[in-house]
Symmetry: C2
């Protein structure tokens, strides 16, 4: 049995709406999946939810779709952000992909003094997020924010939003801190080289910051992000 | 500042021991890192711990090392296993890499009726584990077991070892189940297509199995493994 393709699209969806898919999606449906007029699709707009749809017309390289009935509304996403220093692009893409699967509301890149891979390709990251959401049955995408330097991030931080970070030099057990951090919250993942002393001091002095003990193992940043998000979801995500 | 290379080696380490590194490691030190006689190393044997060492002699392509003092003993690893159906090789390698970082005692591949990538390269997986352990400062490697079919795994399962699995059709919240699963324990991660009905029935009937609710999101298998291991470590790993 073949799965019905799920595609995130730009236009806001409504019953009976017709529009052309973008060229990359048209190529995927025609050349890779070998679909034709009449084929069933699922469309998502990250606004209203997931809709039944079909290919209404195929011209040279262009695919027009027609929207049918809504299947389900956009899922509720817990108000939890991933704030992360960019790392090597393939690892950062992995982090962003997994944060999308796990369901964060926003991904905020943060630039620190030891960040070595500040330049990332937002379009490529967005494509990874969309692919992860399409594959994993999600109906919502995280917002991907513009990078901010750490001082600016902290200066503009909403003090009602708990900012969790794993400290190398102490802190309460992760499970205890995570369980006491209801939404709105966020987790901060530093670069591979960690935070500079003055950055760590600024974090510890900030009223919204809660530190947790790093634990006995050094994790790669992408692993640390997945572990932290999973832990928060299980302990404070409030989904069951 | 350059990091001192950390290498897992085959021989059991002891002060004053001298031996040749394997050719791939010799190539890494000579051709990639451009090291020469006298260069400092850290050697690990996955048995005794981590040792200071240096390059004692270099001949054509061969590197002889001499072991100095022990730096630290092999870390304690919680008695927790990852039991996972093999998935696409690059994703399975990622899963194995992250399980190594997070610190599982054993990785047990399990073959289920919907497993599509039963053939994996154990040497390649082992190399991923070693690289992850070298990078993350670990002094222990998980044991990588031979694959077992699910019925054989369950038939031979030590009933004292809790086997956790995420069920699509119900179960208690993950945090509750994980917190009540002290070592010895294991988590079972199925293939992308999930378990067949008869497999699920066999799991639910097994006395060592505890199910937990899958949660509102479908995760890729490698993400699910990282989330489950991180959760168990934080709630039952007993490391602090």
């Amino acid at each position: 049995m073949r799965q019905i393709p799920r595609l995130f699209v730009g236009p806001r969806l409504a019953p009976g709406a017709r529009f052309e898919l973008d060229p990359a999606q048209a190529h995927q449906l025609l050349a890779v999946l070998r679909l034709d007029t009449g084929a069933e699709l699922r469309l998502l707009d990250d606004q209203t939810g997931e809709w039944a749809a079909r290919i209404a017309a195929v011209t040279r390289r262009a695919v027009t779709v027609e929207v049918g009935a809504m299947i389900r509304g956009r899922e509720t996403v817990a108000d939890f952000w991933l704030v992360a220093a960019p790392i090597r692009p393939e690892r950062f893409a992995l982090m962003v992909e997994k944060a999308t699967e796990l369901g964060v509301g926003r991904i905020q890149p943060v630039l620190t003094s030891r960040t070595q891979h500040a330049r990332q390709n937002p379009a490529r990251l967005h494509a990874h997020m969309v692919e992860a959401a399409e594959q994993c049955g999600r109906t919502a995408l995280p917002a991907l924010a513009e990078p901010l330097a750490l001082p600016a991030l902290l200066a503009g931080w909403d003090q009602a939003r708990t900012l969790l970070f794993a400290d190398e030099e102490g802190g309460a057990p992760a499970a205890t801190v995570m369980a006491a951090a209801p939404p709105p919250a966020a987790v901060l993942i530093g670069p591979e080289g960690g935070f500079a002393p003055e950055e760590r001091a600024a974090l510890l002095a900030h009223p919204a910051v809660r530190r947790l003990a790093r634990g006995p193992r050094i994790l790669r940043a992408d692993t640390a992000a997945v572990a932290a998000i999973a832990l928060w979801q299980a302990l404070s995500g409030g989904e069951r």
